[in-house]
Symmetry: C2
DNA sequence: ATAACCTGGATACTAGATATCCAGATTAGA
DNA sequence: TCTAATCTGGATATCTAGTATCCAGGTTAT
């Protein structure tokens, strides 16, 4: 699990707090949490390609949310940043060595891979069930003046 | 997800097929699927430390299952091989930069981390719900003579 | 026209996973 | 008792994927 996921999630919540009128540049989003600007920019580009945020060049440009937080699930962000690969990669070892005859060659996905696939599906379902708005609400409960702090800081630039 | 997990899972099923009387050396288990002997040995050591298999040195030594396959869940094996670390590691970025004041410093685990934790819990639960005996049964359905092949090959050594 | 900004490719750096090696310790069997 | 097979565990090397930086474009507000 790359830490780009965490950056992307926090950035989305920050964009929501900044409001829909104001576009925020990658440089500012990065500075807010002291992250490497160029690298965070890559994650934001991935979010843009996935249609989660929109991007605009030029002065007063930057990123803003493409849709309300309630319509963005954690799964959307994870898929956008981490790519579509499964965590468990089948290397087909059962077909190597003396054990792997042609008998097993044409069989379907083996039992191990299926079991791991079911577990990963449960993980995805749970991520898909939680929206970024849920996250935002709880974050505001823990730090009620975080949104105002961010807006003030953005305004002072 | 390291591929040692896959090796360990297949090795456990192979040990079950070999039977409880015969201990199988790491070298033979590795040769069966053409895996690097020394490295597979490390995964088997991890399984031994976790109490999933027992090990015995000396001639006629090797590994055997510590308990029936039905009492070993996929989660047991994954935890033994991959360690206890969570896939999502919280880097506490919210406390870095201008955004992280002392206000948030003492707050509990943030909303993002909690949400990811819930998803990972669902994954673990699904893994814990599936026993290695389920896997064995389906594997035998796909390749009914795999157990006999393995026993024959082991006997011819 | 200028400066602020995104895009995307090329490149370097780094940490972790993969793989090998060796010097003990243990035990079955001759 | 001696030998050979085997596990144990630390040290080390290699490889891969994640992390990070840079630059040469292209776009747009002022
Ligand atoms: S399908 Fe089964 S044997 Fe093949 S790589 Fe996946 S887990 Fe291993
Ligand atoms: S607790 Fe929240 S802010 Fe801190 S590292 Fe985890 S996800 Fe990021």
């Amino acid at each position: 699990m790359g830490e780009g996921v965490e950056w992307a999630l926090h950035s989305c919540v920050n964009l929501a707090w900044a409001g829909p009128d104001r576009a925020v540049s990658a440089a500012r989003l990065a500075a807010w949490h002291d992250l490497p600007t160029a690298y965070l920019n890559k994650q934001l580009q991935a979010l843009a390609r996935a249609g989660i945020v929109t991007s605009a060049p030029g002065p007063r440009g930057g990123f803003r949310l493409a849709r309300p937080l309630a319509d963005i699930s954690l799964m959307d962000v994870v898929a956008a940043v981490e790519g579509p690969e499964e965590a468990f990669r089948c290397a087909e070892i059962r077909q190597q060595g003396p054990g792997g005859g042609p008998a097993a060659s044409y069989a379907a996905e083996c039992a191990v891979a299926q079991a791991m696939g079911r577990a990963e599906l449960a993980w995805r379902r749970e991520l898909a069930a939680q929206s970024l708005d849920d996250v935002r609400q709880q974050a505001e409960r823990q730090a009620p003046d975080a949104p105002r702090q961010l807006r003030d800081w953005l305004a002072s630039r």
